[in-house]
Amino acid sequence: MNSVSSYILTIAGVVLISVVVELALPDGQMSKYIKSIFSFFIIGVIIAPLPSLLSSKNVSSIFDYSEYQIQDGYIYSLNTSKLNTLEIEEEKFLMEEGYANVDIEITAEDLNVAELVVKNIYVNFDNLIIEDFALHKDIDEIKIYLENRYMDKFDLLQGSVIYD
């Protein structure tokens, strides 16, 4: 920017001087030649700094950029509330199936990335109440039922569903 403005100022200055000189010159034979000398000057002033202005150093600095960073905190808290929503939905589902007061906790591989992969599911049967209309009455049957359900639903490995 600085070099460019000095370039512009030089051109303006040389032209201004030549105009003033032109005004001051008497109308003689010489004035013609002096005018042409000044026009050579002006051409020189315009052309001379062009190579340095267009040097690769000046140009390449324009094309440097760094990418914007994503707010990790937002993704983290969104993922946490996604997991919470899932837990609440599952507990509600089990209640409707006849297994009340089951406590479910879902954990994920990495909470800081958008692709949430479920890692473990902790199921707590401490306060379990089995309603009359429930399909399975035995706690081991319920465990197998839940394990099958989650392995199918979240693509989990064997043993990822843990019972406290």
Partner: protein
Amino acid sequence: MVYADDSEFNEVIDEELGNLDTGEIDKIIDGLDDQTKDLFGDESFINKIYKIISGDLGYDSSSIFTYLLDLLFDDLLSFLPIISLIISVAILGSMVQGLKSKSNSTSISSVINFVIYGIIIVAIFSVLGNLISSVINSITAIKGQMDAVFPILLTLLTSIGGTVSVGVYQPAMAVLSTVVINIFTTFLLPVFIFSCVLVIVSNLSNSIKLDKMVGFANSLFKWVVGIIFTVFLGFASLQGLTAGSIDGLSIKTAKFTFKSYIPIVGGYMSDGIFLMLAGCNLIKNAVGLGGLLLMFSTIIAPLIKIIVFMLCLRLVAAVVEPLGNGKLANLISGIAKNMQMLIAMVASISFMYVILVGLVMCSANIV
């Protein structure tokens, strides 16, 4: 596809907005002058987003129109002294030319011309300097707003599963806010100043003509802006539209299939999570719109000022021309023509910003 009542959805949006970090934008809004703040309409960005989500933009066409008219007449009044100065100096000059004795004609008349030129150039440049600095300020302001808005948009786009789109827009946004703006401020702005100086210089004397150099600067400016526009917008929009539809498709598939691998929750989309994603999507679009409104309220005043000054100069050139001083009319109309470059600079940067934000708003829409 609505599974929840309004209050549940509002809770989701409240929670999501609460987690969003908009400190940067609020800082920018704090730093605005009162007029711009009035036009933007809110003290905090989050409030504006709430309003946009609830469907109330806070503008009606008549209030915008009166605001624009106010700006227009304020600017006209502020330029009135300059206009009258230029016209009166030109009239005075032509009267002196007519009154002077015939004996020592050429040198005296060129001295008189020179003095008239000096006065008029100083008058025009006192305004033009202000306008140039206001253009630099608004470009810097747009860059600051981009730096604040783009990370939020990218975060929201990531959160709704628009991974392919993020891959396209993350570099595109960085290129717009640094490379494109660098080219505008370090290359095109000097070209504009260069062309203005050449217009003045080439009309100063009869012997030195630099009209072709002015033409070169003008066409250089046009081509560079045109190439930036075509390349940047072409790439961003073609890639962005493809990526956006891929993301939209994968999110839609997630709604109907269970086990396909999609970036939601281990290949599983429940009603509650769908609601959260819809909330994020809504916030994303509202943030985009809010950012654009902020940008419009920042640039509208300087833009109108430049347009009014350009029209004033054209009017002055038209008034001065019948006085018989063709060079003076050429000078003024040449500068007025160059001022289109200033308008083009602000307008094209904000246009690219609008298109990019619009593309982000369109991509990965899930509902």
